[in-house]
Symmetry: C2
Subunit: 189 residues, 2 copies
DNA sequence: CATCCAAGCGGACTGTTGGTCCGCTTAATT
DNA sequence: AATTAAGCGGACCAACAGTCCGCTTGGATG
């Protein structure tokens, strides 16, 4: 394919946009971040943002994908318990712990991503990867359940608003404990 | 309090707005329904919509509250298994079945409501009522779990997009069966 | 029935935002 | 140095939530 390498200025701008978006998300809430602001903060024109990311949704998807790279590698080729080689129950718990960690460290991004992908949540590559991983583990541990459905339900635990709401009173330990208990109850024992 | 009764024209317009909203939701998808359209379809001015419902969110909340009245009565004062008088497990399953029914009959409304309440999901009176009901039943059946958290998770099964996605391949029976199985697994057999 | 007035009305108007367009600039290649 | 397509930026557009205010009217009063 004629996939020319990215031009130097394009690379510079792409990184500036991603960094600016993160910073704005951090500073203002998950809402209240318009693409005009992003463009201004990144020191580029609005057109540049849209040419590269296609849409608001695309921007947040790519940003989340970026933050999810490490987990993605860990579950496919990393060592146990995230990587293969342990019973599904342990592996699922390890994965959910990792996700909780990611969610807590990127709360604003998660919320913004949720809202931006409201329509086509089931098209987002990152979500799909997570979903298929969880589906596989559930199918293995509890073949009697509708693994796909349960996987969606489990991933719903990381909804930005829910995470914020739960940690707001109970802190991070409440979140991880609750998910832990929920998962064990689900998988039986 | 000086709560004058609603003026006749106000009543007429309120009903027209609610009916128009339902019809537009039905016809077009959950998105693609602007309040300008609603006002036009109802044959009233835009100001009238906002005076009565306050905001887009308010409109969808009130519409959902309307559709949820019957279930609300059934769980507080109705006969078992929705009303009191049976073990929590049965009562929870009956409630979730009723919700699934409601969701399936009002899919577009549910989606629109979800999106409109994205910010303050935990302020919506209808959601709160459902949540506290489910929380109570779970606390009774499984005192070892974080009932509030699990209740949020269970109610996430009725996310408009998830319902659409699941019923799209598997139909209504897949939805109810999956929820059924999930609940039983959670409550321990 | 005539009068009155506050509740109600409607639609023009505003501010914000996601997304588009197109003439100009520049990185990279020759 | 010349060439050219990839990239740029910001003016522009359309859609939408929400506000405002001068006009209308339901219904209460005498």
């Amino acid at each position: 394919m004629g996939d020319r390498p990215e031009r130097a200025d394009a690379t510079r701008n792409r990184l500036a946009i991603l960094r600016a978006t993160e910073e704005l998300l951090e500073r203002h809430g998950a809402d209240h971040v318009s693409l005009d602001q992003v463009a201004a903060a990144a020191g580029v024109g609005k057109g540049t943002v849209f040419r590269r990311f296609g849409s608001r949704t695309g921007l947040f998807q790519e940003l989340l994908a970026d933050r999810a790279v490490l987990i993605g590698e860990a579950i496919t080729t990393g060592p146990p318990p995230l990587g293969p080689g342990v019973p599904p129950k342990e592996r699922l718990i390890a994965f959910l712990d990792a996700l909780a960690d990611l969610a807590l460290r990127n709360l604003a991004l998660i919320s913004a991503h949720d809202r931006a992908c409201a329509d086509d949540k089931y098209q987002d590559p990152t979500y799909l990867r997570w979903h298929s991983h969880v589906t596989g583990l559930i199918a293995e541990a509890r073949p009697d359940l509708d693994a796909e459905f349960v996987a969606h339900t489990l991933l719903a635990c990381f909804d930005g608003d829910l995470v914020r709401h739960v940690t707001a009173n109970g802190g991070r330990t409440r979140l991880t404990h609750s998910i832990h208990d929920l998962t064990l109850a689900l998988l039986g024992q």
